[in-house]
Amino acid sequence: MRQLNELEIGQIEQTLRKNGVGDRTVRAELLDHVCCQVESKLAEGLNFQGALTASLQTFQVDEMKEIQASSLAVFHKKYSVMKKLSFAALITMLLICSAYWLKDEKPAASQPVLKVQDALVSLFEPPSRSPLEGDAEITSGFGMRVHPIQKIKKQHNGIDFKAATGTPVLATSAGKVVKAAFDKNYGNYVVIKHDEHYQSLYAQLSTMVVKVGDSVAKGEKIGEVGSSGLSTAPHLHYEVIKDGEYENPATYLHP
């Protein structure tokens, strides 16, 4: 990206100064902002005058003057407070502050800085309730078993709950529906993505009441129990998948 030269920066500064942005500190900051805007417009193919005009249309001088006024008010308040402090208090404050600043030079490893992404991700939690209301009987657990129809030893990637056809099936945590489809083994099945790590799967449904892209809340109905795939009787087959690996859902049934 082309950087503005001294002449161009000077011209922008003159414009700000002429329009009443008189405070040097505020002007320097806003000047840099406008210069950045102009440079990005230059990169879009405008010439300097066109880029400057376009920038000043989105960031008008009236707004700049308001920023200046509010900034001066804020800092003036700070200075009058400072004046009231005694010299000794000032020195003490400086000592404390410099200790902090020195500490701050190191990467703040010990500081609990919560990052935006962590914060948003943690709005969603792993599956933490039963997919059925009340105490449903688990008829087949997680792990190796002899498949009831295929009669071969096979890994069971989830758990089966015995329940009558039509029993509501509930999302075990908030998330987004990423699959709502039919498979000859799973029957009608729904997959909910809860966060970067967790997904949950609900299979053998008689009906599905959500579609791909829907957001669901924890406890929201997503379908009804059935026996729509490779199955001998109505039941809910439920899976919890963490980072692509099957987890034992029995450990995710409670908060």
């Binding site: 503005l4 320097a28 902002h33 703040a108 800085v113 109905k221």
Partner: protein, 112 residues
Amino acid sequence: MASPELLRGTLVTILLNLLAENGRMYGYEMVQSVRERSNGAFELTEGAIYPALHKLEADGLVLTERVVVGKRERKYYSLTPSGSEASVNKVSEFKEYVQAMALLLNPINLAK
């Protein structure tokens, strides 16, 4: 595009977290970053961001340093220890708010 009222109420949280995440930033960079990361939904105006930053500076939550970049001066902001603390508090406060809103807005809960 998010409503200005909602954005105003969360501006300080947004700014403190940007700084918590990136360490050191200047005003224009924050505007760009918020626009990109929110897929254009959040458009911070200069008239909102600079007074907010100056207030944070006066309140001792951010430190500033001036660096000469090319032919001009750039003012960088970073968090003070109390700014880091405020950022953590603001985020958890907002998280609780969003969770409560989700409960209020979720029609399933009304049916119960």
